[in-house]
């Protein structure tokens, strides 16, 4: 993937910046220009509000990948999953920091900011979200936290082009 193409989506891939329909409150990730489910489909154009996902969710389905996608060859075998986020959207991403035998449907996970892949030895390194097991009661230090709430808010604002801080 080219540098510009990846860079354009960094606010979403780094900070889980999605959006929400102001009419029916459905949350979308990645953000959408119009609300596909809303009865007021066309009226939602220009009225989608920024909304940042918490990064919390649970495993909806998973697989152990042996034949890698381009740029992931060094990571095989890796666990790829569909994650049902607390806010609703389903996300596709890897599950890390756990043995693949322990992964199961319904397992609680939390988004982690990680290196996704690199374009060869001298190429660009792509970062974004992966998921690791959620731990109870302040166990968050065991898991790479995405970013601070302030940074999330700034990213959401930048995404919408409404404010710069």
């Amino acid at each position: 993937m080219t540098v510009a193409r990846f860079w354009r989506e960094t606010p979403r891939r780094y900070n889980l910046g999605g959006n929400r329909c102001s009419a029916c409150t459905t949350v979308y990730f990645p953000p959408r220009a119009v609300c596909p489910t809303c009865q007021k489909h066309r009226q939602s154009l220009g009225k989608m509000e920024p909304f940042t996902l918490s990064g919390d969710g649970e495993v909806f389905s998973f697989t152990l990948v042996h034949e890698a996608a381009e740029g992931f060859e060094m990571q095989v075998p890796y666990v790829l999953a569909l994650i049902k986020t607390t806010e609703g959207p389903l996300l596709t991403g890897q599950i890390v920091d756990i043995s693949h035998e322990e992964v199961h449907i319904g397992m609680r996970v939390r988004a982690a900011f990680r290196k996704l892949r690199e374009d060869g030895r001298a190429g660009v390194i792509h970062y974004g979200y992966k998921f690791s097991p959620a731990r109870e009661n302040g166990g968050r230090e065991a898991v790479a936290s995405p970013v601070s709430q302030e940074a999330l808010a700034r990213a959401a604002a930048r995404t919408q082009g409404t404010a710069r801080t």
Binding site: F6, F60, L64, A69, E70, L116
Partner: protein
């Protein structure tokens, strides 16, 4: 809208055709179809060509006029139009051609489907195939087409009690039929154990659950049904041609264990043809992955959700059973040249309806169905074909 008939079919061998170029296989299939239809090139007024990724596979775009040119028709200045819909490119090309004839815009048209995949190494083939998934929100996070179908399979097992061996039966049946098809990529038979013990691709799917990358081309000649008898003794009527689409990414579907585009296309097709799934004796179903075929049996209306496994294990879905599927060998054994798949599926049903399928013949085949998918089901195409008596 007038009725449309298939007047001729043509198909090359599918497989690793290293000694043959894209243009060679493209025109071979087209000429074979024209010859069957007793039509000359001059009678044709348009060409529709299904192809997914010639730019990536052979670094050649603009391939519809290329095939027209090498078919000797450039001087006639016909419209030659390439159609792309991932793995469903061939069936969508047929749909466009069907609409053109049904509307009266054209009388006789050629529909081709062709893909030349084995000029590039396997890892490159895989990356090109993955491009029919969402590159921004699926593959960038490590997803591949087989891994997305594996996610579907795992959830189908979880929600509907489907067992691993239920979908493993599909490639076994495919190879059984492929062994009887001289055009098939793979002609060896395989066992259930071989599928279950195949090297893992994305669990629960192994290498034997996944259709290969192949070279190949197929073609059809379409014309108005009212004059079909002038060109063939065995016209086949297109009773319905339906395309339906859904979200590109699997993660945005309402229910990942249902390809809703298939449900919608099938319902519309049966309604249009005034038929129901129980009227179908023979079907070519998109088994790019074993699980995609099992789910299609449900989504097309042959079985309720979660019930296809039973139909497969009890032998209802089998050659000689109530419903014969993939008598060609399917994508798994006949081969999977992306753009050609949807056209070749229809060619096989035409052979069945004419009674020309030899030792693959389903006795008493009157109504046939084809089902062609793009990606994880963002495009689904259903055709119903009937003997025109």
């Amino acid at each position: 809208m007038r009725e449309v008939a298939i007047l001729g079919i043509g198909q090359t061998k599918f497989g690793e055709l290293w000694d043959r170029s894209f243009r060679e296989i493209g025109i071979e299939a087209g000429f074979a179809a024209l010859q069957e239809a007793k039509l000359s090139s001059q009678d044709i007024s348009a060409l529709y060509l299904g192809n997914m990724a010639s730019g990536s596979f052979i670094e050649q775009e603009h391939i519809a006029p290329l095939i027209l040119d090498y078919a000797g028709l450039a001087g006639h200045h016909l419209p030659a139009i390439r159609v792309e819909a991932g793995g469903a490119s061939g069936a969508v090309a047929l749909h466009q051609a069907y609409l053109a004839v049904a509307s009266g815009a054209h009388d006789f048209v050629v529909v081709g489907g062709a893909e030349k995949m084995t000029d590039v190494p396997e890892d490159v083939q895989t990356d090109i195939a993955n491009a029919s998934a969402d590159q921004e929100w699926e593959t960038v996070f490590g997803a591949t087409l087989p891994s997305l179908w594996a996610l579907v399979a795992r959830r189908h097992m979880h929600d509907h009690g489907t067992r691993r061996e239920d979908f493993a039966r599909i490639p076994v049946m495919a190879h059984e039929m492929g062994s009887k098809n001289p055009l098939a990529h793979f002609r060896n038979k395989i066992t259930l154990d071989q599928v279950l013990e195949g090297s893992p691709v994305a669990d629960p799917l192994g290498v034997m659950d996944c259709a290969p990358a192949s070279d190949g081309a197929a073609a059809l000649v379409l014309g108005p049904l009212e004059v079909a008898r002038k060109y063939t003794d065995t016209p086949v009527r297109i009773a319905a041609s339906q395309v339906a689409c859904d979200t590109l990414a699997l993660q945005h579907r309402k229910d990942v264990t249902t390809v809703e585009a298939t449900v919608v296309a099938a319902k519309a097709a049966f309604q249009r043809a005034k038929k129901s799934p129980k009227d179908v004796q023979v079907a070519e179903i998109h088994d790019a992955y074993s699980i995609s075929a099992l789910m299609a049996l449900e989504d097309l209306g042959f079985y309720a959700k979660g019930a296809a496994a039973k139909g497969l294990s009890e032998g209802e879905v089998a050659f000689g059973g109530k419903l014969a599927i993939n008598t060609s060998g399917g994508l798994k054994a006949q081969g999977q040249p992306f753009g050609a798949v949807g056209v070749a599926q229809v060619a096989e049903i035409v052979r069945q309806l004419r009674g020309e399928a030899k030792d693959r013949q389903v006795s008493g085949a009157k109504l046939g169905l084809t089902h062609n998918l793009g990606g994880t089901g963002a495009t689904s195409v259903v055709h119903l074909l009937e003997r025109a008596n």
